[in-house]
Symmetry: C2
Subunit: 326 residues, 2 copies
Amino acid sequence: MAPQQGTLLSYRPDIKVVDATIRDGGLVNSFYFTDEFVKKLYKANVKAGVDYMEFGYKASKEIFDVDKFGKWKFCDEEDLRSIVGENDTNLKISVMADVGRTDLEHDILDKQDSVIDLVRVATYINTIPAAIDMAEYCKAKGYETSINIMAISTSSDRDIKQALELIGQSGTDMIYIVDSYGSMYPEQIRELSEMYLEVGEKYGKKIGIHAHNNQQMAFANTIEATARGVSMLDATMSGMGRGAGNCAIEALIGFLKNPKYRIDPIFKFIQDEMVKLKKEGLVWGYDIPYLITGLLNVHPRSAIDCIKQERTDYANFFQEIWDKEA
Amino acid sequence: MAPQQGTLLSYRPDIKVVDATIRDGGLVNSFYFTDEFVKKLYKANVKAGVDYMEFGYKASKEIFDVDKFGKWKFCDEEDLRSIVGENDTNLKISVMADVGRTDLEHDILDKQDSVIDLVRVATYINTIPAAIDMAEYCKAKGYETSINIMAISTSSDRDIKQALELIGQSGTDMIYIVDSYGSMYPEQIRELSEMYLEVGEKYGKKIGIHAHNNQQMAFANTIEATARGVSMLDATMSGMGRGAGNCAIEALIGFLKNPKYRIDPIFKFIQDEMVKLKKEGLVWGYDIPYLITGLLNVHPRSAIDCIKQERTDYANFFQEIWDKEA
């Protein structure tokens, strides 16, 4: 399975767009989306020709208090069905399962009893064996599976190669490049993509990318990876996501030349729903503190705090993070 | 003069950063910056190791009413000197002169009587001969000169090549790629850069880039061009500029590995001055209407109107622009 590459005018039928608005955007509002919002998003994605919609996490209710999060932190089957029914559409349903924070045996049904199509396992590079176990478990239950290696910008090439080799030999269908800290530039994404695609070709795995916008690179990195042959592309409405947010789906769909995608339903959803969220006071997107954690290649949590506290002493913040974490 | 190329870790002494905050940001507030703002910006640029600071336009007072614009629309010598004195620093002073909107004979002094170092002539591709005349005039007066071909995304390769050949044979020092509509992607910038650099090498001209952020590509396009060998890089504080704005200088300086640049004075300036401008209600930066004009490769003026009118009916706006202009 040689990766397909492309230029601006070429059309790549292998490309799949994954809307992660609820899942990554849920990190902004603790997953408290209204049912109306989620239903409209689902319909917009179906109309726009989006390939997958990620509804949230399959988080353990032993570990997380159900009273402190909206339901999309848990994605119970009945909640999914209340939105999608039997999901008689071409849009596939995805959920994310974090290593160490999921009760697979309890929460993952047999595929025949679920509307979920894809389970994406989120892992750091030092928990790859656990991630593979989880993905194998879900695969055996009948799902498509992905292993998403987070915070890849902090890993050495040697570790990444070893991790990819392990995952390559597993039954998982997809492997994701995840720039959790939004610290990478396109030329790094290019090299990383080639490393992942080599393993993907060897073992028959699709490669995906999930980018963050700390340095205004989420969309640029996504299309750089696309040009190299990466084919699973994460994006969110108005780039909604933790901290600086993600690749904006409106920019991505505008870029892709595949005629099956339609941008009008995306614009309609943004004007009807995303504008409201912003007016209600939800905050995400590029800002100086995120640039700083991205530049220094550290977790955005201190930048998120900085913005919550409405601190604008950026020069101090830069020195703080430099001294403390970088 | 072969263009130098670079990777992330290499250091390119040929690179020059041009702060265009007053000039392009002036299109947001009709050039009404306070003297304090401009003085602080000048000092920040000096401290940060920025190479050029563009103070504004040399606009004709016959054509433009001096009562309707701040002084940086005109950049009188005494106004410049009130900020920079004799400019006894390493920061060079730039101004922009639009073809057809400048009284060169009246407004451009002999270099020996001016603190200006660089005059950049802004032209559309159909007024190149006039632009060359203007650049030659300024060159003869003793200035460095640049010819900046605007709205390049609407020109054919054949026209661009012909224009570059003409400019190549002229006395101008620099030629700029200007993506006025913010409609280009990195792979297009790559090809355009190669076209410009070929002429630059042949005739001994430096090549520059001025990018807009309609599709969140201003910074990505700037560093793509840089990697190819483009060496004059325009950027502005917090990306301030018309419509979707420009390449953010804080992101660019963070990216560049040249140890002469310092990012702290940039953060300090942003926290002290740019935050205030935003609070006062000045608006620029990525938004859906700009994405739409960028996607459709048209002038951002209708997007600017759309945002001024606080319209958020993006799907309608998209259809309007599609029908009317694209």
